[in-house]
């Protein structure tokens, strides 16, 4: 259990997907104007990243590695991620159509986001087992969601702050992201995961 805790801290804070690996920057800038939508998207992204990682682990372990098809890895992973998202959408739609419709208006699912692919490729490098891969992907997604939420909170405050016209909007958002990345550098060296 202690090993999982270390892995979660390492993947979520020390090697944060957005602020350390610079993956998934499009939603990071695009959907972080409000904390509630950022949190909702965080839930959705966490599900997509973890589920895709599990599906891709199975494809890698039972298909790509045994049959020497590693050269097809990236294309296969993208296809599996897109299929996973379709599966999740279909499952939610079948489970509760009203829930699906409501979420479809406000929280469209991430599909070929590079953060999803990045986490899956990191798992291949790590050569972990199924459960370790799932926990690592979950922790990475948790870190991604945490940063989305923190950044959304900061942007809500910036929206009412007296920012010089030259820096208003995306420029001050990027400065804030840089400062946030510097703050997360404080976690570096805590774990080796």
């Amino acid at each position: 259990m202690g090993e999982y805790a270390l892995m979660i801290v390492g993947a979520a804070l020390v090697s944060n997907v957005v602020l350390t690996r610079f993956l998934g920057l499009c939603p990071f800038m695009g959907v972080t104007s409000r904390t509630d939508t950022a949190l909702g998207l965080g839930f959705a992204t966490t599900f997509v990243i973890t589920f895709s990682a599990m599906a891709n682990w199975a494809v890698e372990s039972f298909l790509l590695q045994p049959y020497g098809l590693a050269y097809l890895r990236t294309a296969t992973f993208i296809l599996v991620i897109a299929a996973s998202v379709q599966f999740i959408e279909m499952a939610v739609r079948r489970t509760s159509p009203a829930l699906f419709q409501m979420l479809g208006i406000y929280l469209p699912l991430i599909t070929t986001n590079c953060a999803v692919l990045g986490v899956v490729l990191l798992l291949v490098e790590g050569r972990m087992g199924f459960v370790d891969s799932a926990v690592f992907a979950f922790a990475s997604a948790l870190g991604y969601s945490l940063v989305l939420l923190i950044f959304a909170g900061l942007r809500e405050r910036l929206a009412v702050a007296d920012v010089p016209a030259l820096f208003a909007g995306p420029p001050i958002g990027l400065f804030t992201a840089a400062l946030l990345a510097l703050a997360f550098m404080g976690f570096s060296g805590m774990t080796t995961h």
Binding site: D36, Y106, T111
Partner: protein
């Protein structure tokens, strides 16, 4: 996706287009489906997934009571409560994920093995989706998942920044 005007406290607004009116009911489609949500006209965006934009929008079609004389082609602003949206996201995504992970970890703790853990994860996912189904139906019966009409919206510019 959200309108440029600030939403009332405690609610989240979104823009949808009326595609059909039948009697007292108007059928609407949400205006965009990209993950970044920053561009209402992003028909060529790479984050569409396997289905076409039209197919995805059609699946997300929803109905509201047409008490204000809406016609096909109208753009309208609809809203839901913040808590309702967060609850829906928690129910649809977080709950099945947690049951899936918990089942995989439990199975791995009792009997180590990747295939067993995968089977347990699949069962956990099904269990989570089952709970989502039951709770989702209750919320739907209480009207907690239905978007409400707020106002008509102006025509979009090429790129509606959030």
């Amino acid at each position: 996706m959200q309108s440029s005007a600030p939403a009332p406290a405690g609610t989240i607004e979104g823009v949808a287009r009326v595609v059909r009116v039948s009697g007292d009911v108007a059928w609407l489609e949400p205006e965009q489906t990209t993950s970044c949500g920053s561009c209402a006209a992003a028909a060529t965006c790479g984050s569409k997934g396997l289905a076409t934009v039209a197919a995805r929008l059609e699946r997300r079609r929803f109905a509201i009571a047409n008490s204000t004389g809406l016609a096909a082609g109208d753009r309208v602003v609809v809203n839901v409560g913040e808590r309702a949206l967060l609850g829906a996201a928690l129910l649809a995504y977080a709950l099945p994920l947690m049951t899936m992970l918990a089942a995989a970890m439990l199975a791995h703790a009792f009997k180590p093995g990747d295939v067993i853990a995968m089977g347990a994860a699949a069962l956990g996912l099904l269990a989570g989706l089952g709970v989502t189904r039951v709770v989702g139906r209750r919320l739907e019966a209480r009207g907690r998942l239905a978007p409400r009409f707020v106002r008509r919206s102006a025509a979009p510019s090429d790129c509606d920044a959030r």
